[in-house]
């Protein structure tokens, strides 16, 4: 571990913010075209960030290997993003600009992101739309043939591009098509159903990974001149979330254990518009696109415990609480604000829907007025597929009764720490997309995740990784190095351990219990007492896991229990770091709401004088207190202000 660089230098180029990315590219070192094939890059993950990076690097001439645990790269969880992708095109002539997108994103992130990164993201947003369109992404169009936009999640301009309610799917299929072209040409070697289980560091450089073939169980070594993690977010740590069943923290966590710093793990996004939980058996929560808030009105009964059917509750007995508390943004307040408000009214006993675990956790999202104003046809055109999905899951039609929604874990703003070049403190390890901590600060705005994944993969990493590789000779790298053998043996021992415990409890039962601890104590609101309790409970649960988990079957075959066991084992370690980070951050900002730090009106109280920094944690051992490194955040372009949506 001695070789890890412990000073946190963000390496932001100097100069005025709108020139920094240009200056970086002017000064960066280049790898000559004929030399690029001598460098091998391992890209882990095939979502928007991973697939766009892998294909673009291959186009440039690098040798690329790409890995995904799904049966096809097209199934990465980016595919589930519904609402849209932001870009400061200002096609609508409504006053948008790169500056405004930058400003909104820094403010929306509650001033906990790096200004230089966010500005670059805003600049690149324009090119992403061009690129995706050229790849055949069928964005929504106006009758005249130009691209359509809508306003989305807390923005006062219409800058969101969309493909019905399937924007993530269409963008991912665009990336997947580009990736396929490179696979066909032999420039990318694709490994489906293959999971990264560890990172190999040789002489302080990330030099390879150890994987498990999920069909045969074979443990494999892969060496490269650089490793790129595009492995998504970690909110499945809550067990119930909107993430896919397989989404996990394993790749990031193993890299962390090998020296990469984990930044702001407590910044998780709880999305306000998800279908409420309907029972104890539930395996995941389903998101309803935030775009619904453009026409839906959120309300609960004024009286606590009012269990009348919604259509029997007269207007004057309804509390349209978002419109009441936040008159200028109303139902379109950002996600963290909307989520907390929903929690508050449910805490007051005004939640609606069936009793689950003795509580009613839900609020209405009502389309009655919108249907009256625009007609059912217009609403059907806008949200038909979402209404159908809702009806399939709940058995209720939103055309007739209001939808019921409740917040659910959705996205992680935290992730592995990276510098301006998207490289972690561990040299050679690059982290892109949701897996890095990057651009969203303490809260992500709607339609910004797709933008960031594609900015990283298409436009930023392919430049910055060249700058890194140009400083390294394309020396022969081999998986015969003793470090590969050592890490492989550790992975094998780990798998054997999991299979040999043969205790009494299933993997899922541990995951559910961990999820409950986190949701209650490190979820939508947190306090010192609860976090300290969680920090007692998690190690206890982890200990029980390693003594009493039951993983049946063998290692050398397709074994889904074993896959899950490894992921949950990592969540059990990661969860502790998340709570530590939440405990240490004694302020409220974005998705991190510490009950001790709120205004008289119950709004988040940020403490810029003490906490304007990125908390990047260094691993020192399982259950051992990690070391905190800080990257101070300065705001020279967007003045620090209280985020008000009133």
């Amino acid at each position: 571990m001695n070789s890890v660089n412990k000073t946190l230098d963000s390496k932001v180029p100097g100069g005025p913010i709108e020139k920094q990315w240009e200056l970086y590219r002017e000064k960066m070192k280049l790898v000559a075209p004929s030399n690029r094939r001598k460098y091998k890059i391992l890209v882990v993950g095939s979502g928007l960030a991973g697939a766009s990076a892998a294909s673009t690097l291959a186009e440039l001439g690098y040798e690329v290997e790409c890995f995904c645990f799904q049966d096809s790269p097209r199934r990465a969880h980016s595919i589930a993003a519904q609402g849209g992708i932001n870009a400061a095109k200002n096609y609508q002539n409504d006053g948008d600009s790169i500056w405004r997108l930058f400003y909104d994103t820094v403010k929306g992130g509650d001033y906990r992101s790096r200004e230089a990164n966010v500005h670059r993201l805003s600049e690149i947003s324009l090119q992403i739309i061009d690129q995706a369109t050229a790849m055949g992404v069928p964005f929504a169009r106006e009758y005249g043939g130009t691209l359509a936009n809508r306003s989305f999640g807390g923005a006062q301009v219409s800058r969101t591009f969309y493909a019905r309610g399937q924007t993530g799917q269409q963008l991912l299929l665009g990336c997947y098509a580009g990736l396929n072209r490179q696979i066909a040409s032999g420039q990318v070697k694709m490994h489906n159903r293959t999971e990264m289980l560890d990172l190999v560091v040789v002489d302080g450089l990330a030099r390879g990974i150890i994987t498990r073939d999920l069909v045969t169980g074979e443990i494999q070594r892969h060496a490269g001149h650089a490793v790129v993690l595009a492995t998504g977010g970690y909110v499945n740590v809550f067990f119930l979330s909107t993430n896919a069943m397989g989404s996990n923290v394993t790749a990031s966590w193993r890299a962390h254990k090998r020296g990469a710093f984990f930044a702001n793990p407590c910044f998780t996004q709880i999305h306000p518009t998800c279908i409420p939980q309907s029972g104890e058996f539930q395996s995941k929560l389903t998101l309803m696109s935030e775009s619904l808030r453009n026409d839906g009105r959120v309300w609960v009964p004024i009286k606590p415990g009012d269990t009348r059917p919604p259509n029997e509750i007269p207007e004057q007995e309804r509390d349209y609480y978002l419109e009441r508390i936040y008159p200028s943004f109303g139902n379109l307040v950002p996600r963290d604000v909307a989520s907390r408000a929903a929690k508050r009214v449910c805490d007051e006993g005004r939640g609606v829907g069936p009793l689950v675990g003795g509580e009613r956790r839900g609020v209405y999202l009502d389309f009655k007025d919108a249907i009256q104003r625009h007609g059912k046809k217009v609403i059907e055109d806008r949200y038909g597929n979402l209404f159908e999905m809702y009806e399939r899951i709940t058995g209720e039609s939103p055309y007739e009764v209001p939808m019921r929604i409740y917040p659910a874990p959705h996205y992680s703003m935290g992730g592995l720490w990276v510098d301006y070049g998207l490289m972690s403190n561990l040299e050679g390890l690059h982290v892109i997309g949701e897996a890095n901590f990057s651009d969203h600060g303490a809260n992500r705005l709607g339609a910004s995740a797709l933008m960031q994944g594609l900015a990283d993969g298409y436009f930023i990493l392919p430049n910055t990784i060249g700058n890194y590789l140009a400083s390294k000779k394309p020396e022969n790298i081999s998986t015969d190095h003793p470090e590969f053998e050592k890490v492989e043996n550790e992975v094998r021992a780990y798998i054997e351990k999991l299979l040999s415990i043969n205790g009494d409890r299933s993997v899922d039962s541990f995951h559910m219990e961990l999820g409950r601890i986190l949701w209650n104590k490190c979820g939508m609101s947190r306090n010192k007492e609860g976090l300290l309790e969680a920090l007692q409970e998690i190690p206890k649960l982890r200990k029980e896991f390693w003594e009493n988990v039951r993983v049946l079957g063998e290692g050398e075959t397709l074994n889904q229990s074993l896959e899950k066991a490894g992921r949950v084992a990592d969540f059990l370690e990661f969860a502790e770091l998340m709570c530590r980070d939440a405990l240490e951050r004694e302020e409220s900002c974005g998705g991190h709401f510490r009950e001790e730090y709120q205004t008289e009106e119950g709004e988040a109280l940020r403490r810029d004088d003490v906490f304007s920094y990125v908390a990047a944690w260094e691993f020192t051992g399982v259950g051992v207190e990690p070391i905190l490194h800080k990257e101070n955040l300065t705001f020279e372009n967007v003045a620090l202000a209280v985020r008000s949506y009133k």
Binding site: S52, T56, Q70, D71, S72, P73, R74, R75, H77, A80, Q127, D130, Q131, A132, T133, A134, M135, G136, P138, F139, A140, R141, E142, G145, T146, L147, A163, R164, Q166, G168, Q169, Q170, A177, G178, N180, R181, A184, N192, V215, A244, G246, S278, G279, F281, S283, K284, T286, M389, R392, I393, G395, F459, D508, S509, R550, L552, T557, L558, Q560, S561
Partner: protein, 250 residues
């Protein structure tokens, strides 16, 4: 409610498989079909039996990973619904339910209900793309595309690549899947340059993978969880024929 499920169990690609019956009590009508299987698996684990292997990921009907034939119908009885979004309220107390994997020569079974669909990836690799490198795109509004045209392309592009169309077809034809991709790109101006080469390459790849031909039964459309229209098969045939007649595949 109480149900009996008969599930295809197969230990590995080369092992023989068979249907095994499981009785299941306390199934809640709000459970999704896959949550019912999770529930069953938990009880198997408790008994020390290996759980049933089945694929799923997003569980919201978009990733295309889940792939079960329920009582002979891919994705089960509900129209335009993937099995992950099918709920137990559509079944009744005492029902016997038969669960099998997709059945097709080009989709070999890996274990229990999990199949290998990499043949679909290889068809896409043959030509399901527009060859434009990152950075070389013109402004997105430079090429206007009429709303109807864009909507039509989107109708085709909505395919989730699950392979239910193949599983539903008595010929195990992949023509709805390939038709959707060929049409999506052929309907857009950006896809014109390569449309002949694409149509020929993808159809040839489809044949090489061992998928059958279309005999116009429309079982694929009926099973498709996204309601992809068989009109796109006609569109693909037209594209393929046009490409062949013009005598140039590449």
């Amino acid at each position: 409610m109480r149900i009996t499920v008969h599930v295809w169990r197969q230990a590995g690609p080369q092992e023989p498989g068979k249907m095994v019956a499981y009785d299941l009590d306390n199934v809640n009508e709000h459970m999704s079909f896959l949550e019912m299987l999770d529930f069953l698996n938990e009880s198997l684990i408790a008994k020390g039996e290996e759980p049933i292997a089945f694929d799923s990921d997003c569980r919201e009907g978009i990733c295309g990973m889940c792939s079960l034939v329920i009582d002979g119908i891919p994705h089960g009885p509900e129209k335009e619904t993937t099995v992950c979004q099918l709920h137990m309220r559509h079944f009744h107390d005492g029902q016997e339910i038969f669960i099998e994997p997709w059945r097709a020569k080009s989709f070999p079974v890996l274990k229990d209900l999990i199949i290998d669909r990499s043949s679909l990836d290889r068809i896409q690799q043959a030509g399901g793309f527009i060859s434009v490198n990152t950075g070389s795109a013109p402004d997105a509004n430079n090429i206007p595309i009429g709303k109807e045209q864009a909507d039509r392309a989107m109708d085709a592009a909505a395919c989730i690549g699950c392979g239910a169309c193949v599983a539903a077809c008595k010929n195990a034809s992949a023509m709805l899947f390939v038709g959707a991709k060929v049409s999506h790109l052929a309907l857009l101006p950006q896809g014109q340059v390569e449309k002949k080469r694409r149509a020929i390459a993808m159809v040839e790849a489809m044949d090489a993978e061992g998928f059958g031909n279309c005999t116009n039964q429309y079982e694929c459309e009926a099973a498709c969880p996204k309601g992809i229209s068989v009109e796109f098969i006609a569109k693909m045939n037209r594209e393929y024929l046009g490409a062949q007649l013009s005598g140039r595949s590449s």
